[in-house]
């Protein structure tokens, strides 16, 4: 589950064979014009489906400026405009982190009804925090400070206790054939507010976490090979020229544009040609803007310390905690209008010795995530940024087998996650498990429901965010999903 460091700036461009709007029915603008203006590339019906619009309503279409990532309005006013998704790879224990179970502790080492093996009570203490008094494990002192902004979900489940498949479910809403990832759906639906940056950026993680599958390739997450020791040039492929100065490139683009005007003069108006000219202009600006976004050396020392970055290292990105660096980069990206940033973390596959392994995993995220929440709040960004944390499934509440200090095995029946900011009603623990914590029981929330709720926070009716492919409409939530309204402020 560790971030895959093998690729840089992975923007993949998947194909699409959506049924096209029948061309004869449109007037005024060419088909390409229409599609490019709306940032869809191809697949006109999808656009209509997306907005629940009359596909022939060109007023709405014309309102959107040029470019496949043009910002778009969702179905209803959104609470959140951006997402930072922290993936806790390995499947975090529930009863040691966010679901205190005194009954389990009381029965430690004993048989408990309905479970195989012996109860393994959490070695960690929980304490009520904040005004809301939601209980927080002692392993999260920093995150705990923000509990009044956090909604803990205790009743999540997916019934898939296999890392790879469950992670696919969490990221794409499907365990089967390749489907678009959450971030891809988001950028497809909302576009990006900064045309000089990709709309969906992942900092590590499996390639399935960012795949756009059948959505047009522009919606695939750009994976940035973020390595604290690497230089910017190697993180962002082709981001600067080693052969020309910026001044010269400007003059080259000017010459190309003169030629482009002459080229287009005698052709049927084609928005693609114009879009390509725009792409060069954006690329030109990206050279400085993207570089800047990833350069955390520009942050003051106080901020760097809070995110647990040390002062050493190449571009100032080195640090004892790469998660901290990534979360700081995430904030810098969100500030610049990137829609979705996904940060892959790990260390939660704690089959043995929970006293140490769980604690270690928690220490890796507690400081940086706490700093992120505070930082977003200080900048007035938390209200519009949904921060979420969670892994692919949960763990058993009884001790796993094996020699040495006990750990917990895989459990798909209960998992935890938390969400903060972005219109989330904080200071609550949503749903509940049974008295020992191994099964979601109250307000059970499937991963599909989580997706439906995230989409609702972003302003979408999850049943209407649709893309037509291969002769049928597809959704992130497939044919499922209910919005947990209690989670929304």
């Amino acid at each position: 589950m560790d971030p895959n460091p093998n690729s840089t700036f992975n923007c993949s461009f998947g194909p699409d064979s959506s049924p096209l709007l029948h061309p004869g029915s449109m007037s005024g603008l060419s088909r390409r014009d229409f599609l490019v203006r709306n940032g869809i590339g191809v697949g006109g019906l999808s656009l209509a489906a997306l907005f629940g619009l009359n596909p022939f309503d060109l007023n709405a279409a014309a309102a959107a400026p040029m470019g496949p990532l043009a910002p778009k309005a969702p179905h209803f006013p959104a609470k959140a405009k951006a997402i930072i998704q922290i993936f806790a790879g390995g499947a975090p224990s529930t009863v040691d982190t966010w679901d205190p179970k005194p009954e389990l502790v009381n029965n430690d080492g004993k048989k408990i009804p309905g479970y195989e093996g012996n109860a393994l009570g959490s070695p960690f203490k929980f304490e009520k925090k904040g005004k809301s008094g939601v209980e927080v494990s002692e392993i999260f002192p920093e995150i705990g400070k923000h509990i009044d902004d956090i909604a803990v979900i205790r009743s999540l489940f997916a019934e898939i206790p296999d890392h790879g498949i469950a992670a696919k479910m969490l990221m794409t809403g499907s365990t089967q054939l390749p489907k678009p990832s959450l971030g891809s759906w988001m950028v497809y639906g909302l576009g990006s507010v900064n045309q000089n940056m990709p709309g969906f950026i992942t900092l590590g993680g499996d390639s399935t976490f960012r795949q756009c599958a059948f959505l047009p390739g522009i919606y695939q997450g750009c994976n940035v090979n973020y390595d604290p020791n690497a230089s910017l040039a190697t993180i962002l492929a082709n981001i600067r020229s080693e052969f020309s100065s910026l001044d010269r490139q400007r003059r080259q683009l000017d010459l190309a544009e003169q030629m482009n005007k002459m080229h287009a003069a005698q052709l049927q108006k084609d928005a693609q040609l114009e879009a390509r000219i725009q792409a060069f202009e954006i690329a030109f600006k990206m050279q400085t803007e993207a570089t800047d976004a990833f350069d955390v050396s520009k942050e003051p020392q106080a901020i760097r310390d809070k995110y647990e970055l040390s002062s050493a290292g190449g571009m100032g990105m080195g640090g004892k905690n790469s998660t901290g660096t990534k979360l700081l980069v995430a904030r810098r990206l969100i500030e610049r209008g990137v829609r979705v940033v996904q940060v892959a973390t790990g260390g939660w596959d704690t089959h043995a010795d929970i006293g140490n392994t769980v604690k270690r995993a928690a220490q890796g995220i507690d400081g940086p995530a706490g700093a992120l929440l505070q930082d977003l709040k200080d900048r007035g960004l938390l209200d519009s940024t949904l921060v979420m944390w969670g892994g692919e499934f949960g763990r058993t509440v009884t001790a796993g087998g094996g020699a040495g200090a006990p750990g917990r095995d895989h459990n798909g029946k209960a998992m935890v996650a938390w969400m903060a900011g972005g219109g989330v009603k904080g200071g609550q623990a949503y749903g509940a498990t049974d008295e020992f914590g191994g099964r979601a029981s109250e307000n059970k929330m499937h991963v599909h429901d989580l997706h439906a709720t995230i989409l609702a926070l972003m302003g979408f009716d999850h049943t209407k965010l649709i893309y037509n492919y291969n002769g049928r409409p597809f959704r992130l939530t497939d044919n499922f999903g209910n919005v947990a309204k209690e989670l929304i402020a």
Binding site: G217, N238, A264
Partner: protein, 1066 residues
């Protein structure tokens, strides 16, 4: 205005619907009070909560359940009839609405208790229903044009008959004339030649070829000659194979990642399929044969062995974890690929829009569930007598030998370690089970501490379960409670039913006066047994590894099992690479991982992947000896054991069958399936192919969804033309036009006046608003401008640079995305479906997850960044300026103009206008000025830059994608490890853009904290304080890349390369 009209119509429809209901109610035989009850209580529930998903009239029948009438309720859905007459509790619909079991309807909101009561009452009455089933209209899916037989239409008459070169033009012109539109004039010669070249071979014409074509006194003949020449060029197959490979979702890897990665995810011989496609196209293999070969080359009588590679269509897909997903992928590629039909929708239910039933799908599933792949495909190429072949064979033998010996040495290492600690491991493991008490756990931990064993080793080696041949009886000694002694005695005397235990174990136990039952004592006994056999076990290793024996000596097997324990025993006679791979998976993560490293399996695949003279193998499939029909899976889920299921005979899709879809008889049925597809009678096969070819020549198909001609596809822009060409294509008109000839179809299309139109639309008069009448050019009143696809664009850049390597056709895939680049054509680029190179993604290369005939044409800044900043683009730019015709022109100051002209001809295949020449000249002048004004100021900086450039080197990946060539095993485990000379270090290992003393180095296999301690020439020395190691990497001269600022001429070339014209075909 339009909107208003639409909504009025909608109201009218609703009104009519009400009328018909009223009418039906009047005629149905139903008691008035029942009708009242239905209308007041039941109909509102149905329409508010049910019919949205369960109504044929509304077009959605989820789970196959249609609630439109009493009849359809009785018929029920996938899970059975919705109600049983007179049985309220037993009726499925009542179970569903009361949310009793898993089936909970309506899924989002339970009905109110009152509503549920009403429904129960209604079922109790016998579900009286005034709705008339016969009045409910369900659309006939078969009526769609694409399912009708193809007939040859008459070519239409036109006013301007002189315009028409062949029949294609009649169909196109007739349609234009009906709207009083004119076609565009013929494209100018330079534009036409460029279009023909890119269309047929994916490469631009050279300046010489343009010259010859433009000056030819007989333009018509010149045009025909060019088409014939290009169709005969091997580059044609390379170009058009790429189109089919998009549909065939070609990739060089399985796409398997994560834990399953132990299985090498690279296909060593996927390229044999790619090469087969290239060769088949070049030899103009008739399209019907092209289909049959790919499905059943092994069944074609007197077939050549080269054709076996065709079956790669079935085998180069993604290897999903579930077998059924692989079968599904194969059905998908065949049905969308050849038939333009989305048959896989019917995996879970009858197709929603097309006349394809779930039974059709499972008829095909049986076919693909009845095939298998051999361990190794047949050899179809390579010269056994060549030195390269023998070199390959020798290397392979060495690697295999090493793999087998590593297997045994690792196995011995593990089992030795186990036997030394057998007693303790047994006891710890027994006491550390899931349900062990805290006291037992405590005891186990104490032993663990004392023995200093690693917990992980204990967990991985202790195979404690009652059925294990070695430990099983010991386990039972502790766990058996009732009748223990008798049961154990039965086992020892071989009287007990159940698992077969190791006879050496039994012999040992028989000699024991007493079989203890306390954990500790049993563990001691187990340890004693291991010690007792120790002298004999040692000899078994040699026995096991004796490769000269064809089978293990049965008498020695029990001892061999003991020797191998806790790993499975594999005598040399049974060990091959496939088995080794399987063992790796069985050995679990820890040991499997070690085995993967030590056996060097990846290196074996690597050798096959990169070998230049080794054998070429076909990736074939074979029929299972006993083919099996498939059960129909409800909602795509396989029936559980004991569940009743409908068995579907292996057969073709009914709606496309001329023989009533009779069951296949021969083996799996692949050949019969192939013939059913490759048939003139099949209404889809020829139409799909013709439409695709049209799309590649015109930018859009006659039907715009090339992989779906079903009901969702709509009507073709020129239906008669599509049918005309489809019949013409399959017919035999003698040697100049054989049946199913793809090349003949190319020629027919390209000879048409329609194809030769200009993209220049300035001709259009004012009387008709062309752009309004036909904004998308579906009527073909001009040529579309088309963006070059990635392959054509890259190949053309290389061709302009003069570096395109066209020395051979076919061969293993090469690296085209990272320095040092291969200069072969892009079709030979390595495609890892699990990690598609950035460059390919940025340029809309088809995603090999699924068949995708039509590429998207997205425009993103990364494409621009590639052209602006990538070393690849820079290389092209530099080489263009170094071409002799440019060098000559540039050498003399006065010849600037000639230089500009030469560059335009190379890059855009045309002569620049005077205006363009002026623009280019102005650019050059400006750049020169810029240079001189900063020259003095930058002299010092340049000196410094030169110094840096000298040490600025670029280390590169040298293989074909896939596994990166990383540092060798074991590096950094000891001190002062030196890399062997010539070892390549991947970019990830050395972030070489900043390769200087003190720089940190990171990457796979390199421990954190590694830094560069010296750079001297091409030798880089790394060091790591923590592990106290250091190493030197020698970088090859070929890996060195110098970055030199562009000259003004180079800047000019690059600017022209940015232009839209360079990326589009007019």
């Amino acid at each position: 205005m339009n909107l208003k009209r639409l909504s009025l119509r909608a109201v009218a429809v609703v009104f009519l619907a009400n009328c018909s209901v009223a009418h039906a109610a009047a005629t149905a035989q139903i008691a008035p009070e029942h009708r009242e009850f239905f209308e007041n209580k039941i109909r509102p529930i149905l329409s508010n909560s049910c019919l949205e998903c369960h109504s044929g009239e509304k077009g959605k029948i989820k789970g196959g359940l249609n609630l439109d009438s009493r009849e359809t309720l009785l018929k029920g859905g996938e899970t059975g009839a919705a109600f049983k007459e007179g049985d309220i509790k037993g009726s499925l619909i009542i179970k569903a609405i009361t949310w009793e079991d898993d089936l909970q309807m309506p899924p989002k909101k339970k009905l109110t208790p009152e509503e549920i009561e009403d429904f129960k009452r209604w079922i109790g009455m016998g579900a009286p229903d005034p709705r008339d089933a016969s009045k409910i209209v369900v659309k006939d899916k078969k009526a769609h044009w694409a399912f009708q037989p193809v007939a040859r239409p008459e070519k239409p008459a036109v006013k301007n008959a002189a315009w028409c070169v062949n029949s294609i033009d009649n169909f196109v012109l007739a349609k234009l004339e009906s709207k009083e539109m004119l076609p565009a004039p013929q494209a100018d010669k330079e534009a036409l030649l460029r279009r023909v070249y890119f269309d047929l071979i994916g490469l631009p014409p050279s300046p010489k070829e343009i010259e010859a074509f433009v000056r030819d006194p007989d333009p018509d003949q010149a045009y025909v000659r060019v088409i014939d020449k290009l169709l005969a060029d091997p580059a044609y197959g390379e170009r058009w194979a790429r189109h089919w490979l998009d549909t065939a979702r070609y990739s060089d890897t399985t796409g398997v990642v994560g834990n399953a990665r132990f299985q090498d995810y690279r296909y060593a011989y996927a390229y044999s399929f790619r090469d087969w496609v290239i060769n088949s196209l070049n030899s103009d293999m008739p399209y019907d044969q092209f289909i049959v070969q790919q499905l059943a080359a092994d069944k074609v009588p007197n077939n050549s062995k080269e054709n076996l590679a065709a079956m790669g269509l079935l085998t180069v897909g993604q290897r999903f974890q579930q077998k059924d997903d692989i079968i599904n992928d194969r059905i998908d590629v065949i049905t969308r690929g050849f038939l333009g039909l989305t048959v896989v929708c019917a995996r879970c239910h009858d197709h929603k829009f097309d006349p394809v039933t779930a039974a059709d799908y499972y008829g095909l599933r049986g076919v693909f569930d009845s095939i298998t792949e051999p361990k190794e495909g047949p050899v179809i190429g390579g010269n056994q007598n060549s030195a390269a072949y023998q070199d390959f064979a020798r290397k392979l033998a060495d690697l295999e030998k090493n793999a087998y010996s590593s297997f045994y040495s690792l196995q011995r290492e593990i089992s030795d370690r186990f036997r030394k600690n057998a007693e303790a491991i047994f006891e710890i493991a027994y006491l550390s089970q899931r349900d062990s008490t805290p006291e037992e756990k405590k005891t186990a931990n104490a032993i663990l501490e004392k023995t200093k064993l690693q917990a992980r080793f204990v967990d991985d080696t202790a195979k404690l379960n009652p059925n294990n041949p070695i430990t099983g009886i010991f386990f039972k000694m502790i766990t058996l409670k009732d009748n223990r002694d008798k049961q154990l005695a039965d086992i020892l005397q071989g009287k007990a039913k159940g698992p077969k235990y190791n006879t050496a174990v039994i012999d040992f136990l028989k000699k024991q006066p007493k079989l203890p039952s306390q954990v500790h004592e049993v563990a001691v006994l187990f340890g004693k047994m291991v010690l007792e056999y120790e002298p004999q076990v040692a000899g078994m290793y040699a026995e096991m590894q004796n490769a000269s024996k064809t089978a293990a000596d049965p008498a020695k097997i029990p001892l061999m099992e003991l020797a191998a324990y806790p790993l499975p025993m594999v005598p040399a006679a049974e060990l091959d690479l496939e088995r080794l791979r399987k063992e790796g998976i069985r050995w679990g993560l820890t040991f499997g991982g070690q085995l993967e490293n030590k056996s060097g399996l990846a290196k074996i695949n690597e050798l096959k992947l990169t070998s230049k003279g080794g054998p070429v193998r076909a990736m074939v499939v074979e029929d299972l000896p006993k083919p099996k029909d498939s059960p129909l899976f409800i909602r795509g889920n396989a029936p559980k054991a004991g569940e009743e299921a409908r068995i579907i005979p292996r057969r073709f899709i009914e709606v496309l069958s001329t023989n009533g879809a009779t069951p296949f008889k021969e083996g799996s049925g692949r050949l019969e399936l192939a013939h059913a597809i490759a048939s003139k009678e099949n209404p889809l096969t020829a139409r799909v192919l013709v439409n695709r070819m049209w799309m590649y020549h015109f930018g859009e198909g006659l039907v715009r969804t090339p992989d779906d001609l079903g009901n969702q596809a709509g009507v073709p822009s020129h239906p008669e033309l599509l049918d005309f060409l489809s019949t013409w294509f399959t017919e035999d008109f003698g040697p100049s036009k054989p049946a199913w000839s793809v090349k003949a179809l190319h020629k027919a299309i390209m000879m048409s006046r329609t194809y030769q139109q200009s993209s220049n639309t300035a001709f259009r008069g004012k009387s008709i608003d062309y752009e309004k009448t036909d904004p998308s050019n579906s009527m073909l009143w001009h040529a579309n401008i088309r963006r070059l696809d990635f392959e054509s664009f890259r190949d053309s850049l290389l061709s302009m640079a003069g570096t395109l390597d066209r020395s051979s056709v076919g061969g293993p895939s090469v690296n085209i995305t990272e320095e040092p680049y291969s200069f072969r054509r892009s079709v030979y680029g390595y495609i890892d479906r699990a990690n598609i190179p950035d460059l390919l993604m940025q340029f809309d290369v088809a995603n090999p997850d699924q068949p995708n005939t039509k590429r998207t044409s997205t425009i993103v800044p990364q494409q621009a960044l590639f052209l602006m900043n990538s070393p690849f683009a820079a290389q092209v730019v530099q080489r263009v300026v170094n071409r002799p015709e440019v060098v000559q022109a540039v050498a003399v100051e006065k010849n600037t103009k000639a230089g500009i002209v030469a560059i335009f001809r190379i890059l855009l295949q045309r002569t620049p206008s005077i205006k363009e020449q002026e623009m280019a000249l102005a650019f050059l002048v400006n750049e020169n000025k810029f240079q001189s004004s900063v020259k003095a100021a930058t002299a010092d900086i340049n000196k410094e830059a030169a110094k840096i450039a000298a040490t600025k080197v670029k280390a590169q990946q040298n293989n074909n994608g896939g596994k990166k060539a990383v540092l060798n095993d074991g590096e950094f485990e000891g001190a002062n490890v030196t890399l062997t000379k010539g070892t390549n270090i991947v970019t990830n290992v050395l972030n070489v853009a900043d390769l200087h003393v003190g720089a940190a180095v990171s990457g796979q296999g390199v421990p954190p904290g590694t830094t560069i301690v010296s750079v001297a020439g091409t030798t880089v020395t790394l060091s790591n304080k923590a592990t106290a190691g250091s190493m030197t990497a020698s970088l090859r001269a070929a890996d060195l890349v110098q970055r030199v600022t562009f000259s003004p001429w180079e800047a000019l070339v690059q600017a022209i390369m940015f232009s839209n014209e360079a990326a589009y075909v007019n």
